[in-house]
Homo-oligomer: 272 residues x 2
């Protein structure tokens, strides 16, 4: 195991770069690295084969992270930092004691990766917690990729990374300005969730074939130009006295209805 470096000043260039990454979306977009906080996210990244460049541990807490530190590649720098420096590196209010800097890896969005799988396209979903939860749900449901249209939260933002709980390491994700090529290349059907009365109830749809799902922002919904491309507008039947679901909840209900129908087709003891 390589020896420890020490940082005791918040003016250290490495510390300043990470602080800037945490606070500036425009800086994050052009830098080819990202920062993960907490041993859960770090472990998920390591398990997915991501290579950390440097790990920063708050002094006195090294023993707690023995398992993670053991799993680091020899090329990864180990840096022990003072408590005030660690607070500068942490994005959370209750810092976890460990932060790592990784070279950013994009999972390729190729037709091969996506053949035979669902795609999700989000329109204007701003709230980072929702975007993160949607990425996590999509990864769990085995979706091929998530495309973030205009107005969506930056998927590398610290809050999105935290809420996604490692989805970034197993799921191709791309921010796109124009979904036309994706509409043009599609092989399956396109479904858009909408509150319209004429929309088809989710449970009346056959979802066994791969589809492209469109989900819109709270209130505004999916923009009309995209709705026009959809083969069907879909609504989730709601017996209770609410108009709509949170977008992340709606995504979970739709994607897992597809999971259910496919399991049912495979005859795995599913209740109809």
């Amino acid at each position: 195991m390589s020896s420890w470096q020490e940082i005791r000043s918040r003016d250290n260039p490495q510390v300043r770069a990470i602080r800037r990454w945490l606070n500036e979306a425009s800086f994050r977009r052009r830098e080819p690295w990202l920062v993960l906080e907490g041993d859960h996210l770090l472990t998920a990244a390591l398990q997915a084969g991501w290579m950390p460049e440097a790990v920063f541990v708050e002094e006195g807490r090294e023993a707690r992270f023995a398992a993670v530190l053991e799993a680091l590649p020899p090329t990864c720098a180990r840096v022990r930092v003072s408590a005030p420096v660690f607070r500068a590196l942490a994005a959370t209010e209750t810092p976890s004691g460990i932060v790592a800097r990784f070279a950013r890896r994009m999972l390729a969005l190729t037709p091969e990766v996506l053949a035979g799988r669902d795609l999700v396209l989000l329109d204007g979903v701003q709230e980072p917690g929702n975007v993160g939860a949607i990425l996590r749900t999509a990864a769990a449901a085995g979706v091929g990729a998530v495309l973030l249209g205009p107005g969506c939260a930056d998927h590398w933002a610290p809050k999105v990374l935290r809420a996604a709980m490692g989805a970034h390491f197993v799921l191709p994700i791309a921010a796109i300005d124009d979904p036309e090529p994706w509409f043009a290349a599609r092989r399956g059907r396109v479904f858009a969730t909408a509150l319209a009365e004429k929309a088809v109830p989710l449970y009346a749809l056959g979802l066994k074939a791969p589809a492209l799902w469109l989900f819109g922002a709270e209130g505004a919904g999916v923009r009309p130009e995209w709705l026009a491309v959809a083969d069907a507008c879909v609504r989730i039947p709601m017996p209770g006295a609410m108009e709509s679901l949170n977008v992340a909840a709606a995504v979970a209900v739709c994607l897992f209805e597809a999971v259910r129908q496919r399991l049912c087709q495979a005859k795995k003891g599913v209740v109809s």
Copy 2:
């Protein structure tokens, strides 16, 4: 319509009380009123028959809220406040321009209200956005009540109110210390979500009868004493490479699977 009052000082006692309500959980718990921000939540509360005591509008934005102001009961005070005072009253970073104070109304948690309906009991769900999304989902699914066990976010917290989007006005909600009476009084089955391999896949469960659902915190899950009461531990089948869903997503998948099975029973053109 009653005439406008004016407040131009943040030291006004009404303003100070609202600020304290926004910032102090212990104060919120003992005060019999609550604060709602934005015309969407206000309208939902008015539609549900809640009576505002006072409405505070940022000066210059009165015309934007004409419809809401028109719908106010004559007993409700209308207060025009300066922009700095409004910023003191608002919990959000992009203030909506309207805030109202309501007498708090608890929907009764009686056996009659709950007969023949699902119940949801949460264990240690701390994150306000998750608790709010769960309340919204439960209300949409027609659940009878949501019980918040120890360690859950305060359901009157501003972030929970915002995320629940009006669920508080249509759904009985109670914070409880001890679920034993609820377990003892139950008529249907008790299901707990768990990651255990021996858990029953959700889609193999018959969910047409009312049930009590237990959902636990991220990581820790439902506490063992409560799990022991469950008739079945349930897992959501996940074809993708993730260990678990966000708790609010898991609630949505489970409760809407019950919605689907009941619609299917009612033969409303549901795909099996």
